[in-house]
């Protein structure tokens, strides 16, 4: 029997060896794959196991974290949620992240290798650093002026510092409180469904993710193209454009709402916003020339990031001359984000040099040490400096003597351009009111702020809608806040 007992013991030993081999298989060889399985909640639990870093406006954090005591411990909180929602986005345990929360997630959640005290620290220790902070370029008074200016109406504001590209305000209205989406559970899913169903699209970031026909505000781009291409050499010289203007190759006539556009000069056409002159100039520059010019302002760029992706502003590449004529006055398929139009104003204000727009000033560790800094960076050479000077003068004329009078600020040089864009089937929708502008305080250096305002449902009465009436006052308030700051 002894031999059989030994054999039975040997069998038990085999069972043990099988268990050990299997344990090594699961814990060593297949572990990597199992650890990264999307159904494995451990990654998620670790992610919410520590407070998330904060997003700062100036010195003040506009976000926070609270310990819920749940399995996913820390939830995002937002101070002034709706005000900064187009900047921060949301960080939800249920729906992931958007905007800055998404673009800077590595820093905020503490996984970015930059935060580690030594290279490869995180890989070696398998540890996560405390979440770093993201300091934005937003200036609270400017942001607030824009938000209050829109006052819940559908629309957006983007403001830039022309000489640096710093985004001073990024407002979309109506907005929402991202904190509603932070956690998990039925309250969160309910809020998500409600926000997504809402007619007013509160979660749409109109400032960078929505494109609108820019209407007459686009005439600044066409004017720059005409000047740079040499189609116009003297902005004050009369052009040979009839009013109304028959679109090339068609019998359709393009009327002017403004008076005095017959053979008006470029400066006059900008001041009173002549459709005919600018459409004609666009055709004279030609499709290739216009495409080149709009590209220098950032149109048709799919890859612009601030660091959140900015929707592509469009100028069609394949058009007949009549379509080109309409496109040149910001109609047809021409669309632009409010940020794009702020960049147009910014390029003019900065002497033709377009700075790369950015929202993040610097990224710091938990205890404030800067680990990454966003410097001023050139984006495009939008136009010739001489062209910029001429356009500055024309835009100032718009505010001082033209359609943009509502944007005038005492003692400050303000240049602007109105726009009232038709849209919808047969232009049946309430027009979009645009105003783009820049402002230069007296005796100071270059213009300190460029702004674009769009108001969607500007007024119930369609006839009264105008960029100068609805959008310009908001732009003025924003510029005043920027100049004071």
């Amino acid at each position: 029997m002894t031999r059989y007992i030994r054999r039975a013991a040997g069998f038990c030993l085999l069972l043990l060896l099988a268990l050990l081999a299997n344990a090594a298989r699961v814990q060593l060889f297949e572990a990597g794959e199992l650890n990264t399985n999307p159904a494995n909640r451990r990654t998620t639990i670790d992610r919410y196991d520590q407070p998330r870093g904060d997003i700062l406006v100036g010195d003040e954090p506009v976000t926070g974290s609270k310990d819920t005591g749940e399995q996913l411990a820390y939830e995002r909180t937002y101070r002034h949620g709706p005000l900064y929602a187009p900047v921060t986005g949301y960080a939800s345990q249920t729906y992931g992240t958007t905007l800055l929360e998404n673009a800077e997630d590595g820093v905020l959640s503490g996984t970015d290798p930059l935060l580690a005290p030594l290279p490869l620290w995180g890989d070696v220790t398998r540890s996560r650093q405390p979440g770093g902070d993201v300091v934005t370029t937003i200036e609270a008074p400017v942001q607030r002026a824009a938000y209050e200016g829109l006052d819940g109406r559908r629309g957006a504001v983007a403001a830039l510092d022309p000489s640096t590209g710093r985004i001073l305000a990024l407002v979309s209205s109506p907005s929402y409180d991202p904190e509603l989406l932070s956690g998990t559970g039925s309250a969160v899913t309910g809020a998500w469904e409600r926000l997504n169903r809402a007619q007013s699209l509160p979660m749409l970031n109109r400032a960078i993710r929505q494109t609108y026909p820019p209407g007459s505000a686009f005439k600044i781009v066409t004017a720059a193209a005409a000047l740079d291409a040499g189609v116009v050499t003297d902005p004050d010289a009369a052009t040979d454009t009839p009013s109304p203007y028959v679109l090339p190759g068609t019998s359709t006539t393009l009327p002017d709402e403004a008076r005095g556009c017959e053979r008006a000069s470029l400066a006059e056409a900008i001041r009173v916003s002549c459709n005919t002159v600018m459409a004609h100039l666009g055709v004279e520059v030609g499709l290739d020339g216009m495409l080149e010019a709009v590209g220098r302002f950032g149109f048709n760029d799919n890859d612009l990031k601030i660091p959140s992706r900015v929707a592509r502003s469009n100028f069609d590449a394949d058009m007949s001359d009549d379509q080109l004529a309409q496109s040149s006055i910001g109609q047809f398929d021409t669309t632009a984000t409010p940020l794009q139009m702020a960049m147009v104003a910014s390029a003019v204000a900065n002497g033709g040099e377009l700075r790369r727009p950015h929202l993040v000033d610097r990224v710091t560790t938990d205890d404030g040490g800067t680990v990454r800094e966003q410097g001023t960076d050139s984006y495009r050479e939008a136009m010739d400096p001489a062209t910029a000077r001429q356009l500055q003068r024309m835009m100032v004329d718009v505010v001082e003597n033209g359609t943009g009078a509502n944007a005038a600020i005492d003692g400050v040089t303000v240049g602007g351009k109105t726009g009232t864009a038709q849209h919808g089937v047969d232009n049946s929708g309430t027009p979009y009111a645009w105003f783009i502008a820049w402002a230069q305080a007296p005796d100071s250096g270059p213009p300190a702020v460029a702004v674009a305002v769009v108001v969607e449902d500007a007024s119930a009465d369609r006839a009264d809608v105008s960029g100068g009436g609805d959008a310009a006052p908001i732009a003025r308030a924003v510029m005043e806040a920027a100049l004071e700051g």
Binding site: M1, T2, Y4, A9, C12, L19, N22, A23, V26, L34
Partner: protein, 454 residues
């Protein structure tokens, strides 16, 4: 070596009692457990749990009482068995306490400590009252009758989580089938010890296999079929598998007929295939085993087995540390059937290997006692009890780690479950009793012929 000389008495060595070794190992086992308990608290809240002294004192007292019982009533007993049992039980309490932190409304550690106390009480009772294991041989048929009753009774109680293996009255519930394990081992050992020659040497020879006569084989097969049948009715397939393995091993050890193993494996394969194909509860377990991640692909979230594998994987080589893993994601049965996943995640492959080796050592000491004994009943009993432990560890550890289809069963000493912990203490008590006799220098053997010593 023939079967007859194999049963010759072992050599008469002057064996030291080694009770001092046992006591120092016990102290070590208690210290390790207390350290684990404190580590959980330190990792979770940065402070040693306030009840760590009480826990340590409780476990220490239990260990001391068990040691005293062994010291006075089984002085020649194997010195490793009791410390291993205390260490595993202490570690189990730590793991359950650790999981209790995740389920504040459902605390199990205190209950488990009470059951452990009861288990140690049974341990002491067995060591003190049972002076010679051979007494049990007389009660073979009483054992089997009791075992069958214990297994049948739960059929009349409502099913819990798909298995009808529980008896509940008041707030208490226990699994009578756990105790039936020991009784069946006693019966198998007694019956096979009495009839092994008839089984081995009589009967027909078909092709190369020797089959015993129906008269001898009949009762044992009948009882085995009955017990397995009952288990299938109760859907407790882990225990069913355990009984089957126990039966085959003891039959082989008693008769030495390899044919039995062939027939046994054939029967097992056929039975497993039939049950796996037609019984929906088991079929789903087999499906899970074949592809643990199927439910993830189907968008239903990870299955329990997948969660268990995630836990083991998260542990890696060294583990996350006690209290720092997320094995609670396994959900239902995390403290019982899946307790090993917590060990795997928080102690890593290193800790898991240590636990497996502790079991292996316990099983090996059981076999060792069997080898050293002279009476066939004692030998079969110790082999049976050691095999129960080995098979149980294999079935549940293999199940939760995806080696074999998962069948519900308790990890000996580690898992939450009163009946299981009491049963395992009784098993260890019997092994202690058997090993005491095996190592006691029998009067007269000192003059045994030298030729018989190996």
């Amino acid at each position: 070596m023939t079967a007859t000389t194999a049963d010759a008495p072992p050599p008469a060595l002057r064996l030291p009692k080694r009770r001092g070794v046992e006591l120092s190992l016990l102290i070590g086992a208690v210290i390790v457990s207390v350290y684990g308990y404190a580590a959980v608290g330190l990792a979770r809240s940065g402070a040693v749990p306030p009840d760590v002294a009480g826990y340590g004192a409780g476990l220490g007292l239990l260990a001391l009482l068990a040691h005293l019982a062994v010291r006075f009533r089984a002085p020649f007993a194997d010195p490793l068995m009791l410390p291993i049992a205390v260490l595993l039980n202490g570690l189990g309490l730590v793991l359950i306490y650790r999981l209790d932190l995740e389920t504040p409304s459902d605390r199990a550690a205190t209950t488990q400590l009470i059951w452990s106390t009861l288990g140690v009480a049974f341990f002491i009772a067995v060591v003190v009252l049972l002076r010679d294991h051979r007494v049990l041989q007389r009660y073979a048929y009483l054992s089997v009758a009791t075992a069958l009753v214990l297994m049948i009774v739960p059929i009349f109680f409502p099913a819990v989580n798909g298995a009808k293996i529980w008896i509940r009255f008041g707030g208490l519930s226990f699994q009578p089938g756990e105790f039936a394990k020991i009784l069946l081992a006693v019966f198998f050992a007694a019956y096979l010890a009495a009839n092994r020659n008839a089984l081995a040497y009589t009967g027909r020879r078909i092709w190369k296999l020797q089959f015993p006569t129906g008269r001898v084989l009949g009762p044992i097969v009948a009882i085995w079929l009955l017990s397995v049948g009952v288990l299938i009715l109760e859907r407790d397939l882990g225990t069913s598998l355990l009984f089957f393995g126990l039966f085959v091993i003891l039959l082989y050890v008693a008769t030495g007929r390899t044919g039995w193993i062939a027939v046994g494996l054939l029967l097992a394969a056929a039975g497993a295939f039939a049950v796996g194909s037609f019984e929906p509860h088991v079929h789903s377990r087999v499906e899970d085993w074949l592809d643990p991640y199927a439910t993830i692909d189907a968008g239903q979230g990870p299955s329990q087995l997948a969660q268990s594998l995630f836990a083991f994987a998260a542990g890696g080589m060294l583990g996350t540390g006690l209290g720092l893993g997320h094995s609670i994601l396994i959900g239902f049965a995390a403290k019982s059937d899946f307790i090993l996943a917590t060990a795997g995640e928080e102690l890593g492959l290193a800790g898991l290997t240590a636990i497996f080796l502790l079991y292996a050592l316990l099983v090996a000491r059981g076999f060792r006692a069997g080898l050293a004994l002279r009476d066939p009943f004692g030998r079969l009993l110790s082999v049976g009890l050691a095999s129960i432990l080995a098979l149980q560890v294999f079935v549940i550890a293999g199940g939760v780690m995806g080696l074999i289809p998962l069948t519900g069963m308790a990890m000996p000493f580690l898992a939450q479950g009163g009946s299981s912990v009491v049963t395992n203490w009784i098993i260890v008590a019997l092994l202690i009793r058997v090993s005491d006799l095996a190592r006691t220098p029998a009067p007269g053997t000192a003059t045994a012929p030298a030729g018989e010593a190996r």
